[in-house]
Every structure is written in structure tokens, then in C-alpha cells.
């Protein structure tokens, strides 16, 4: 359980996190979603005490992270895959972290196995790819068998197999009753992994709701295709149903369920070539929520590569 109350962080004149309140509950995957510079990383850094809040507070399981007797048992955090001395081997890095809490070396070897790092565990971290660095970061986060996991952009740099692995992993950790908070700027990733989403924009909470609600808010529609589409459309003329004609044989229907439309077609004896429920995407929801909150916007027509310098790079 993570609870933030009026959490604020200012860097000089810039407000990175602006009086944020939220609760991250155990037993589900909570996604921190937001464009670059929205304050996701800063918020996560404040949770584990790396950054001091300018005001407000954030607690993990009832108290500030630093006040726990065994912080690594409370929270495992992957905040930055590069938070490792490049001259040390992965295994020695993990040994050093484990030693602070008296965590035995067999646990170190266990998390190495768990994250698939066996073959490189004795190599120096300086030569690691980003994906290997992410795995090492996840291994470090798991050392204390923590009740809460905080993963900042965990799939960044991973290959497709690694992405699948992290997704399954996050879900499994949550299923074990742990609190899982992960951030991403990829909406599609969140749709697949998270149960609950907190959308941040310009340091503020823009939305805080279950994934299904956020998806539902955009509204889906039913695409209907038939050689005799006009007959179907004629029967759907009710006030709360909107029918949009796409082409000669296709319409999009909002406000009616697919089953009802199918029944109408059957009653008319009209052949149906397609009856598809099209759900609103999280992208749509996200873009509409954060439209005014994007810090770095790409020029509309220039087609230049995204001007969205990540906050990590900027720092």
C-alpha cells in the first residue's frame, strides 16, 4: 500500500509534481501513465526517499520508506537500470545490496536465476545492454522479497520475450497479494498489464480509475456490414442510437449493443457480413485526458522525430 498526500516536488521554478494524492493498493497492478516529464519518475523517487518532497508526504505500508527497519523487505524498486557501478559484476552488485540487510547469497543466486542473468552474472555491468540492465534492476528489486514493487518503465529496452516476461511477472506478483506500481508512457503496455491506472500530466493526477473505466469513457461502437445495410439502419432509428455511414455496405452504430443489432438483422432476414464490437483504445482515452498536459509537443506537420526528450535524459 502506497499513500501519497499533497505530494509536491519543485526544482527551482519548475513544479515536477504538483500536490498529488493517490493510493496504490495491494493485489493489483497499478499503472503510472503519463507523457515524458509528467512527474512519474520523480514521484517514484520520492516514494523511496531518493528525492525529498518539497511538501506533502508519501508512505509505504503506513510509514515513510526510510523509517522501516528493513526497507528492502517493504519495497523493491527499479528506478533506473543504470544505477549500478559499471566496474562491478552483476553478482557482486547484488551481493553488496543484499549484504546491507543480511540477505543470504543463495537469495542473490536465486534472483539471478529468476531474471535469466546466469550467463552474465559474473561479467562487469559496464558491458550490459539496456535490456540486461533492466533485468539486473529487477533482480535487485526482488532481493528482499518485497511486499511492494515499484518499476519505472520496466519494459524499456527489453526484447519481445522480455516484455512478455515482465508483464507476466508483474501480474503474478500482484496475484500473490503484493502492491505493484509500474510506470510507462506506452498506453498499450498499460492496457495489457495494469488493473488500475493513475494518469499523470504536468505533475498532476489527471485520472485515477480502473483500466476498464478509462477504456469505457471513450465509448466503443459496433461496426455492421451487410449488402442490405439500409434496411438495418432504418430499424435503428431511435433517439439514443447514432448511426454513421462509412460506405455503401458499412455503418458504425453507437448506443446499441451488438446482440441487439444482430437480432434486428435476424428479424429482417438480412444477411450480416460483419458485426464487430470496436472498443475505444486506451490511447484514445489517454490522449483525450492528457491533451492539455503534454510538456513537449511534436510539431504537427514537420514530421520530425519526437521532441519528447525523456526526463531521464534531461536529468
Amino acid at each position: 500500500m502506497i499513500e501519497a498526500t499533497s505530494l509536491t516536488k519543485r526544482y527551482g521554478a519548475r513544479t515536477a509534481v504538483d500536490s498529488v494524492d493517490f493510493t496504490v493498493r495491494p493485489g493489483q497492478v497499478t499503472g503510472f501513465l503519463g507523457p515524458n516529464g509528467a512527474g512519474k519518475s520523480t514521484t517514484m523517487r520520492m516514494i523511496v526517499g531518493l528525492d525529498r518532497p518539497t511538501s506533502g508526504r508519501v508512505t509505504v505500508n503506513g510509514r515513510p520508506y526510510a523509517e522501516h527497519r528493513a526497507p528492502l523487505r517493504e519495497v523493491g524498486a527499479l528506478l533506473d537500470a543504470k544505477a549500478v557501478h559499471t566496474g562491478r559484476s552483476a553478482r557482486n552488485h547484488l551481493r553488496a545490496i543484499a549484504a546491507t540487510h543480511g540477505i543470504p547469497v543463495r537469495r542473490v543466486d536465486e534472483v539471478i536465476g529468476l531474471t535469466g542473468l546466469e550467463s552474465v552474472a559474473r561479467k562487469r555491468v559496464g558491458g550490459f545492454s539496456l535490456g540486461m540492465g533492466q533485468r539486473l534492476g529487477i533482480a535487485a528489486a526482488l532481493l528482499g522479497d518485497p511486499a511492494t514493487l515499484i518499476l519505472d518503465e520496466p519494459v524499456n529496452g527489453l526484447d519481445p520475450e522480455g516484455v512478455l516476461w515482465v508483464r507476466g511477472f508483474a501480474r503474478q506478483l500482484a496475484a500473490e497479494g503484493r502492491t505493484v506500481l509500474l510506470s510507462s508512457h506506452l498506453m498499450s503496455e498499460m492496457a495489457l498489464t495494469a488493473d488500475h491506472i493513475i494518469v499523470l500530466g504536468k505533475g498532476r493526477v489527471v485520472a485515477n480509475a480502473p483500466v476498464a473505466d478509462i477504456l469505457g469513457s471513450t465509448g466503443g461502437f459496433v461496426r455492421v456490414r451487410s449488402p442490405r445495410i439500409d434496411e438495418i439502419a432504418g430499424r435503428l432509428g431511435q433517439p439514443d442510437i447514432t448511426v454513421t455511414s462509412v460506405d455503401a455496405t458499412t455503418i458504425e452504430v453507437r448506443g446499441a449493443r451488438a446482440e441487439a443489432i444482430g437480432d434486428v438483422a435476424a428479424a429482417l432476414g438480412v444477411p450480416l457480413h460483419e458485426l464487430t464490437l470496436v472498443q475505444g483504445s486506451l490511447e484514445d482515452a489517454y490522449l483525450s485526458l492528457t491533451r492539455d498536459e503534454v510538456e513537449y509537443r511534436t510539431g504537427a506537420l514537420t514530421g520530425e522525430p519526437a521532441a519528447a526528450v525523456t526526463e531521464e535524459v534531461a536529468r
Binding site: R45, V48, G49, L50, D51, R52, Y65, A66, R69, A70, P71, L72, R73, A77, L79, D80, K82, A83, V84, H85, T86, G87, R88, S89, N92, H93, R95, A96, I97, A98, A99, T100, H101, G102, I103, P104, R106, R107, E110, G113, L114, G116, A140, L142, G144, D145, E161, L164, W165, R167, G168, F169, R171, Q172, L173, E176, L192, T193
Partner: protein, 278 residues
């Protein structure tokens, strides 16, 4: 959704519970020991230190004019002094080696981002600084002692061949050898806390080496009384009493002066470490 999220590589997360794990200072010490000994730079620096200590002592004996060593041979006190000078000459160079290492031990964590892992594991922060300082100080003292003893052992037969015979049991000998090791540890800690304060490798090395080499020569150009007093109080000159003898301080005073220099940097470094974002 569920089909997509079931990865084949998924394994059980909790294999061996670690229920009794908690943060302890002894654990932090062990952690810092692992960090200190698993970097090639540390191992190399200490190896170079020992080699230089022996090499410079031997070089001094080999190039010493026969008349000087013969004069020392006649008098036991002079023989002890000659032996100490030979064994500890390398300190003049090794104080730079240890200063660079002292800065690197802490700024290497900031430069690589390791510090964020370290402070996530130890969110109270200061125990990391004290454990690091303690281990670095003790290790530097031990390695320094090994280096001067090795230098003494290697040069003893060479000096004896020239008629200079010293005795390690003589307090004038072992006292200064221990003093040399102590000086290395203390000057290394001054550099360490400069590094902790500046959090930047290049800046830290420049400041630490500057304090040893540049500041004394700048001050020597100032023809004021306070400048000559200050010159005596600089860590390099105050510390030399510990191995070369002489100077304006008793050895215990000299240790206090150096502890003062350490505190001068350690106190603000500790305060800022608590306050700053990592």
C-alpha cells in the same frame, strides 16, 4: 488479455523467503567491504601504492652517496632516521595515490548512478558514508603499514651493506613507520570527504590534490606571518611530523590537526548528504 500475459518464462517469485532480513550497520559494513574489494580500481591502486613504496625506498638507497650513509652508520639515531627516511619516502607520492583513491571510492558511486542503489537499500543514508569512511580508512592504514614494512624489509639489507644498521624494535623506527601508515589513512579520509562533498570525480581529485600540492606553494609566496602559521597547519605539512618527524607539532597534535581537516569536510558532506536529492 490473460493469454498475452502468461509468459513461458514465468517462475515462482518467492523461492527462499528472507524473513529475518533487516538493515544493520554490520550489514552495511559488509556491503561496503564487498564494494571496496570488487572493483579493479581499488585493487590496482593499492597494488601500485605498495610497489611505489618499495621502489622509491630502494631507489633512494641505491642513489645515496656513500659518504652520507657512512656518516649515518656511526650513530644509531642517525641510522634509524636514515632507515625511516628510506622506507617512508614513497609516502610523498603515495599520498597522491591514496587521495585519488579516496575521492574515487565515493564519487565513483555518484558518477555511475550506483549511489541511487546504495541509498535505496540504506535510506537513512549516513550509515553508508560512515561505513565507507571507516573501511577505507582502516584498509588504507593496513595497506600503508604493509607497504612501509615491505619497503623497510627490502631496503634493510641494502642499507646494511652500506654500514647502516637500524632496529625495527627501536621506537624511532616503528613509531614513524606506523605514523606513515596513519598519515596515509588520514590524508585519504580528507580526500574521501572532499569527494563526498563535491560528488564529482574530476572536481574532487582536483580539490584534494590541490590541497596537498598547490595550496602549500601558493601560501609560501605570501610573506605574512599568518601565512607561515597556516602553512604549518595544512594537512600535508602537519602530517609529515608523523613519519619524517620535526615540524611544529607533537605527533598526537599532528593527528588532531588532521582529524580537524577531516571534520572540516565530513560535517558539511554529511549534512548535505542527508538533504540533497540523490
Amino acid at each position: 488479455m490473460s493469454a498475452a500475459t502468461t509468459a513461458p518464462a514465468t517462475a515462482r517469485v518467492t523461492l527462499q523467503p528472507v524473513p529475518d532480513a533487516r538493515l544493520r550497520f554490520t550489514g552495511i559494513l559488509r556491503s561496503e567491504w564487498i564494494k571496496l574489494t570488487t572493483l579493479r580500481s581499488t585493487v590496482w591502486a593499492y597494488a601500485i601504492l605498495i610497489a611505489l613504496q618499495i621502489g622509491m625506498g630502494a631507489l633512494l638507497v641505491l642513489t645515496q652517496p656513500q659518504e652520507l650513509t657512512a656518516a649515518a652508520g656511526a650513530d644509531p639515531a642517525a641510522a634509524a632516521q636514515a632507515a625511516v627516511q628510506v622506507s617512508t619516502l614513497g609516502i610523498l607520492f603515495n599520498q597522491l595515490v591514496i587521495s585519488v583513491l579516496g575521492v574515487l571510492v565515493i564519487t565513483g558511486e555518484y558518477g555511475t548512478g550506483q549511489i541511487r542503489s546504495s541509498l535505496t537499500a540504506v535510506p537513512t543514508r549516513l550509515p553508508v558514508l560512515w561505513a565507507k569512511a571507516l573501511l577505507f580508512g582502516v584498509t588504507s592504514f593496513v595497506v600503508g603499514l604493509v607497504s612501509v614494512l615491505a619497503s623497510y624489509a627490502v631496503t634493510w639489507p641494502m642499507l646494511q651493506a652500506k654500514g647502516v644498521e637500524s632496529d625495527l624494535a627501536d621506537v624511532e623506527v616503528w613509531g614513524h613507520l606506523v605514523g606513515a601508515a596513519g598519515y596515509l589513512a588520514l590524508i585519504g579520509l580528507v580526500a574521501f570527504f572532499i569527494g563526498a562533498l563535491l560528488r564529482h570525480t574530476a572536481g574532487g581529485i582536483a580539490a584534494a590534490v590541490g590541497l596537498l600540492l598547490v595550496v602549500p606553494s601558493v601560501i609560501s609566496f605570501i610573506a605574512a606571518d599568518w601565512a607561515s602559521v597556516l602553512a604549518d597547519w595544512l594537512p600535508g605539512s602537519a602530517g609529515q611530523t608523523l613519519f619524517f618527524g620535526g615540524g611544529v607539532f607533537e605527533p598526537w597534535q599532528s593527528v588532531l590537526v588532521m582529524l580537524g581537516w577531516i571534520a572540516l569536510f565530513a560535517v558539511p558532506a554529511a549534512i548535505l548528504m542527508r538533504r540533497r536529492d540523490a
